[in-house]
Amino acid sequence: MMKPEEILKLIAAARGTAICVPTMTTAPAWRKIAPDDLSVGCVGFMGGASALGLGLALGAPARRVIVFDGDGSLLMQLGSLATIAGAAPRNLTHLLFKNGVYHTSGSQETPGGQGVDFAAMAKAAGYRNTYTIGTLDDFKKRLPGLLTEEGPILAQLMTGLAESTPMTAGPSTPFHQQVADLHAKVGGTR
C-alpha cells in the first residue's frame, strides 16, 4: 500500500501551476506539503471535491486541475462521475485515494470496501482514461502522464491510512478564506 503523504510529495514537486482540490484525509498533509499555493480544500461538504474540481476545470481550461478524492467521499456523490464525463474537461485529473475505510470516523469499512472498482466505474461513466496504481514506483512512472494527458482521467490509488485526519490535525484556513484566496489568484485573470 502506498502512503498518501508520499504520493502528495511527488505531486507537489510535479504539479506546476495546477489547481489542487484535496479533501478529507489528504487535506492536512497537503497543507503541510504545499501550504501556500493554488488549492482549495473541501471541508464540511464531504463528497463535493470532484464536482468542485469540475467547475474549476471548466472555468480555467488553460490550467490542470487535480482532485484528491477519497473513496468514502466519492461514494457520497458517485453521480459526479457521470457529470464529469458528460462535461468532458480535458484538463481534469481525478485522483482517488482508496483506503477502503472512513478513516476520520474510526476506520469503518466503506460500503463494498476494497472490492469497489472506481476505475471501472469512471471508465463506464465515460472518463477518457482510468488507471489503478498500487505501488509508488508505478505512480512515479505514470505521474507525468497523469498531469498532461487529455482528461477527464481517473487514477485509483491503492493507499494505506494518512498520518492525520481533519479531526486530528490542527485548525486549517477556513473554507471561505481558501475560496477567497483562490478566487483572488485565478478569478481575475479570465
Partner: protein, 179 residues
C-alpha cells in the same frame, strides 16, 4: 392571480446579467453558464436554452454536483446561474450550507415550485414540497423572492446581484410553470 413567464424573457434576463459580468473580461465564450438539474417547472426555459449558442448549459446528476460546479466556476471568475427544483433544494441543503453559506460563495438559484396551485399561496399548498420551500430558505436566512408573472422579471437580476453583494446564496422561486 399569478401568470406564467415566457422563457424568452427569462433567457434575456440571464443574458443581460452575463453581459454585465463579462464587460471588460478577456473570456467571452461562453457568455455565461447555466448549471441545471432539469426542472419540469422550467422545462420551456431549458428547451429554449438548448438553442442558445452563447450560453453553456451543464446538466448535473444531482443538485449537490450543481452547487459544487457553480462554486468552482465562481472561483475562476465565471458567471453562473443554477436552475433546480424545490425537491433539489431539499436534497442539497447540506451542500448549500457548506459551500455557498460557509464558503461565502455567491450562488444564484432559480427554483421551480412544481405543482404549486395557481389559486393558492404556496404556504397553503396541499403539496409539502411547495409548502416548505420558502420556509426552508427562511431557516437558512437565504434571501428569496417569488416570480409570479412577467412584471417580476426584475427579480432575477436583483437577486443575482444580491448573491454577489452578500457573498452567499440568493434565490428566485418560479411561481408557475414557465411558458
Amino acid at each position: 392571480m399569478p401568470e406564467s413567464v415566457p422563457s424568452s424573457l427569462i433567457i434575456d434576463a440571464f443574458k443581460e446579467i452575463f453581459q454585465a459580468e463579462r464587460r471588460g473580461a478577456k473570456r467571452q465564450d461562453p457568455l455565461g453558464w447555466i448549471i441545471s438539474v432539469p426542472d419540469t417547472h422550467q422545462k420551456s426555459v431549458l428547451a429554449a436554452l438548448d438553442k442558445e449558442r452563447a450560453l453553456r448549459v451543464l446538466t448535473c446528476s444531482t443538485e449537490d454536483d450543481a452547487n459544487a460546479v457553480a462554486a468552482g466556476l465562481y472561483i475562476t471568475g465565471e458567471p453562473v446561474i443554477v436552475m433546480i427544483q424545490h425537491a433539489g433544494l431539499f436534497a442539497s441543503v447540506n451542500t448549500i450550507r457548506g459551500i455557498s453559506m460557509d464558503g461565502r460563495v455567491p450562488i444564484f438559484y432559480m427554483i421551480g415550485l412544481l405543482s404549486r396551485e395557481k389559486d393558492k399561496d404556496p404556504k397553503d399548498s396541499r403539496h409539502s414540497m411547495v409548502r416548505f420551500a420558502e420556509p426552508l430558505l427562511d431557516v437558512f436566512s437565504i434571501p428569496h423572492a417569488r416570480m409570479e408573472g412577467p412584471d417580476d422579471l426584475h427579480l432575477i437580476s436583483e437577486y443575482y446581484r444580491k448573491s454577489r453583494e452578500r457573498k452567499g446564496p440568493a434565490a428566485v422561486l418560479v411561481g408557475l410553470e414557465t411558458a
